[in-house]
């Protein structure tokens, strides 16, 4: 690909392409985490879930020859880890954050262990949809080569928002997250609701992981994730627990992540690593800008242990 043909225009285009491509795992993990946190529990283990999803998805795609089966298995693996998290947290005097960190290590460790045989072989990739067919420019075409999972995530966000507002399930989930006392008085089983929310959140994170290994360039290795799972947790706070805002936040983080490579492609090599650190700097900056020592975060589910 010849990036120079567009000159400096290549930078915003690459950032846009990056925003779409890099944001997909962010999007799925943050939507999953949003759902889990709405129920009043935080699952920090989604980084482990993401890696586990990437591994199990890739392995399944390789063994069955069907990348979509990989996506499904990745989701199921994720919900398994989510269920484990919820079951441990349902015990007395267990802290969800500590369990999350343990599951993060368990998930990545397990994925590395089980994934060893799948580093070499090439699994079939998820097909992408060429939205750039109309353009003569190779860059534009490649930028608009969009993975269907991104579109699924895009559709999922408003669906979740609608579900949380207008379905019985969504309302119960929010009540459990806002006031366990009230939920108990209404006769809802708090642990059961949180188990389902954490399992569903794990499913989304697992699917996000399968994107990492099954979309272009499509490979499984141990350096696949660079903390997207953890960043996505911060992103949920940034998005004020609103699924649709999660989309915008994911795109922002994705774009920031694509800044370094994009600048490099047009010859700006100075500070390459600094630009690569953009998502992390952005995370810090947003956290500092949006938090306060004096008052709690607006929009935070009241039962969340970190904001109480």
């Amino acid at each position: 690909m010849d990036h120079a043909s567009l000159g400096w225009w290549g930078v915003p285009l690459a950032v846009l392409a990056g925003a779409i491509r890099v944001s997909t795992p962010f999007l799925f993990v943050s939507l999953g985490e949003c759902l889990t946190e709405k129920s009043g529990r935080i699952n920090l283990g989604l980084e482990g879930t993401l890696v586990m999803g990437a591994m199990s998805g890739y392995a399944t795609a390789y063994l069955t020859g069907n990348p979509w089966a990989g996506v499904l298995v990745a989701g199921l693996a994720g919900s398994l880890l989510g269920t484990l998290h919820a079951m441990i947290c349902a015990l007395e005097r267990v802290n969800d954050i500590a369990v999350g960190i343990a599951l993060m290590l368990l998930g990545t460790g397990l994925a590395f262990f089980l994934g060893k045989p799948f580093i070499q072989p090439q699994a079939p990739q998820l097909p992408s949809i060429p939205f750039g067919w109309w353009s003569g420019s190779a860059q534009v075409r490649s930028a608009l080569d969009i993975n269907p999972l991104f579109l699924v995530g895009l559709a999922l966000a408003p669906l979740l928002l609608w579900g949380l507002r207008t379905t019985r399930w969504g309302m119960v989930l929010r009540i459990v997250g806002e006031s366990a006392e009230a939920a108990r008085a209404m006769g809802y089983h708090i642990n059961r609701v949180r188990l389902l929310a954490t399992a569903a959140g794990g499913f989304f994170a697992g699917v996000g992981g399968s994107f990492l290994s099954l979309s272009y360039p499509g490979s499984w290795n141990e350096r696949l994730s660079s903390g997207q799972g953890i960043t996505a947790v911060a992103l949920v706070i940034f998005a004020r627990w609103d699924p649709v805002l999660c989309v915008w936040a994911s795109l922002l983080f994705g774009g920031a992540g694509a800044l370094g490579p994009a600048l490099q492609s047009v010859g700006v090599t100075q500070g390459y690593h600094l630009f690569n650190a953009a998502p992390y700097v952005l995370t810090l900056a947003i956290m500092i800008a949006t938090s306060s020592s004096r008052h709690r975060l607006a929009g935070a589910p009241a039962e969340l242990s970190v904001t109480r």
Binding site: T166, T167, R168, W169, R174, I175, A182, M186, H295, A302
Partner: protein, 533 residues
Amino acid sequence: MNVMSRILPSSASVPPPPLPLHHADGPPAPGLEAVAITKRFGAFTALDSVSLKLRPGTVHALLGENGAGKSTLVKCIMGFYRPDEGAVVVGDREVVIGDPRSAQTHGLGMVYQHFTLVPRMTVLENLVMARASVPAVIDWRAERRRLAAFLDTMPFTIDVDAAVATLAAGDKQKAEIVKQLYLDARVLILDEPTSVLTPDEADETLGLIRGMALAGRLSVLIITHKFREVMAFADDVTVLRRGRLAGSGAVADHTPDSLARLMIGDSSTAVPVERRGPPGRAARLRIAGLRANDDSGLPALHGVDLTVQVGEIVGVAGVSGNGQVELVQVLAGQRAATAGSVQVGGEPYRATREEMRRHKVHCLPEEPLRNACVPGMSVAENMAFRSFDEPPITRGGGWLGSWWLDPAAMRRAALDLIARYRVKTTGPDAPIATLSGGNVQRAVLARELSREVDVLIAANPVFGLDFAAVADIHAQIVEARNRGTAVLLVSEDLDELLELSDRLVVMSHGAIVHETTPAAADLTVIGRCMAGH
């Protein structure tokens, strides 16, 4: 923000107009009977064969001290607990209620002392979600229409689109009651329904409830410890004492005195300690133009001006949430003031540990286990929080200074305090969280009052305690005042303030809005000031 309009006169003596019935052709409200209910927790018998009969269409008061078994009885009726013996009869049928949801299907509804509505959701969302069956997909517009139609038949008016958190306490209480009526409760159980209301709000709410009972729409069981409300609003009364039935009958056959005797038994209570002599002339604590923000960063104190003299108790009345918590926190050093000044003994005071020690400022915050203790640390350690960094508990001189702690000295000091203040504990080494509420309160009181005290700040110091503990703690506070301590007493209990204070001020919306003396106090004026009018 007051989003509910009050459409009825607030005085309880005016009977409410006849009510349009929700189910005009439905059956009248059933009665409720608890028959010989026994409930044990391990070796402890919380309820010993207690019976209660609520007649249809009446208001029945359930009286008793804290720990007498009122809540246990009601929880057995509502299905939170399964009684070990006994039965519950609704109407003329015996029912077995396994959980609160099935209580709802039998027409029983309960309004809890603590609000159970979800604060950040709207009244509409709360009410719809509380129903036994909610459709999988909710058509909010239709639900809104249905609720509005229902509210038209009620003597209450509510803004259904307001988030519950923005409602005033009285309006929240009404929303809780409306919720039960919306759920078709015909037998309503109210747990201390007026504890967070102003006297006017309490009268209005109870008046509406009584009106609905008279109309045959409801049978009402009210848990309370306020004799005034029993005498004014209840038809029958049942009194519990230590898990046993102490007495029951028509309210007309009782006086507040006879009820009090039933409640506390024959054991005499401590005679209240007299305030001796007038307060001193010198101002010990002077607060001027004090402003502070609450947890969400919004202004909670809008310029508080207050002076407490030597040897004076100044009572601060008010409905909770009007800045009292923030005021106490600023004085205790738990919150930064945004403007204004605090002076103790004529010197500026910023609530540092050094200043507290120098000016002998001591504090009895509300919920002491949460606000003044480290629950997991021992009684002895908690009692040493004021003194652990000075002799005799610290030892060693020279360059080590006061680094060395002497656990034996700490223990000795604690044993002395435990004996003097009659703290019931298994020993000084027990974690303070294992003590009962009254004993935690005594332990903190011992810590704060055993030293020389020039200024005492006390917030709801007897909340949730039984008669004996209340009398004890009140006596300690008055004695401190007689020794010359300037006492700032913040309380939601007006009776407590009228009994103890030399001077009484009312706090509303973060400012002092009224000042009087207990002798000259006009309850109507105080109530109006508390409500912010």
